[in-house]
Symmetry: C2
DNA sequence: ACTGGTTTTGAGCGATCACTCAAGTTATAA
DNA sequence: TTATAACTTGAGTGATCGCTCAAAACCAGT
């Protein structure tokens, strides 16, 4: 009996995530969202509640795709540390656009952009993005612990500390790539980070 | 004959820089600036032209203070690499608030925040922040080259590449510190970065 | 065709946005 | 003291902000 919905919830979320990713929270207006989602304000609010809730849902969507992309690279490599290195390199090539034509609107990470943009007047968003970073950090820690179990890291390595170091490199690489800088610099930077992290993983941390 | 100005240009700029640093460009309204500067819109526009111009001037102020702070640390150390390491550690302690009660509104770098926030609809700001990053990068490169001349780095080191690596670590440390994370993690991260960069400076890069 | 539950629409709400300008205020030079 | 030039004021500009809601449009079951 009901009228069938014209829009797919997941697809709309993905489009919204793209727009928010590119423009940020404050610079993205409802007008922009209306155009991108091809929805009128009433429909948007019926589906998502508010701009802030929509952003939060979009950020979750982004996070899931981020994790998925990371897992894909990791699964393609035997050793964990090789997988992480490959992921860093892939981020570099994706950022410079010299690869796969992935649909990233900007090379910087949406989570980092959000972390740096949101202030005290949107405590919900601040809490959400902090939670997501915590999840990534603990997942990375667990991943490195499994690597240690398989002998890739010396026993007794501080995997939480190592995880933060990896996380920092990923954040830095993508932020650096956001500058108007030539592709070679970004790829060299990724390579240098890989060398650094390899040496740090094999010695005492 | 003229009426004396009630406000000092430099002080107003510094206050504006602080506010913009904390809230970002878009989330900072003229109302906020009026309150912080204790100036009415007419005075603000007479003195600075527009919100965008004011932000640009505030960013320049921030940049100058950033460079000055960096030079202070560098001059306090004999060797360049020691100075840079000390600077990283100082950023960590400043970010966690466990030190000098420096008046940073947030631990993240205003230049990085700006780099990630500004979009195509403010090309002037985008150009300015990119220029500033280029200046920092070339200054860092020159600094490392002088270190190489003094034997701190092996002859033939790619100082530009090393400079980007240092820059990335600084960006990452401060961005990481922007999370709701305990002080020990930030200081450990800085320490790990120092170890990493030391080992990378002594080997082939 | 009709009905009923569901979704979409878009004009328009009050609030706030960046910004302007004519009038008022103030300190100095004459 | 007065005139003048510089600075400050704040009410008010049109535009845009996030958001609401009554009405229209739609599709399924009868």
């Amino acid at each position: 009996m009901p009228r069938t919905a014209r829009h797919d919830y997941a697809i709309s979320l993905e489009r919204a995530a793209h727009l928010f990713w590119e423009k940020g929270y404050h610079a993205c207006s409802l007008k922009d969202l209306e155009a991108t989602l091809d929805m009128r304000p009433g429909s948007i609010y019926a589906a998502f509640g508010s701009k802030e809730q929509l952003f939060e849902a979009a950020l979750m969507t982004y996070y899931q795709q981020l994790v998925q992309g990371m897992e894909e690279v990791l699964e393609a490599h035997e050793r964990v540390l090789e997988g992480l290195s490959a992921y860093l390199r892939r981020l570099a090539t994706e950022a410079t656009g010299s690869a796969g034509a992935q649909s990233a609107p900007v090379s910087a990470c949406m989570m980092v952009k959000t972390l740096l943009e949101v202030t005290a007047d949107t405590p919900g968003l601040s809490h959400t993005v902090n939670q997501l970073f915590d999840r990534i950090e603990s997942d990375l820690t667990a991943l490195l612990e499994s690597a240690m179990d398989q002998g890739e890291l010396p026993r007794g390595s501080d995997c939480a500390r190592l995880a933060r170091l990896w996380q920092a490199q990923i954040m830095a690489l993508r932020t650096f790539a956001h500058r108007e800088v030539d592709a070679a610099s970004v790829e060299q930077l990724a390579e240098d980070m890989v060398v650094l992290l390899r040496s740090s993983s094999c010695r005492e941390v």
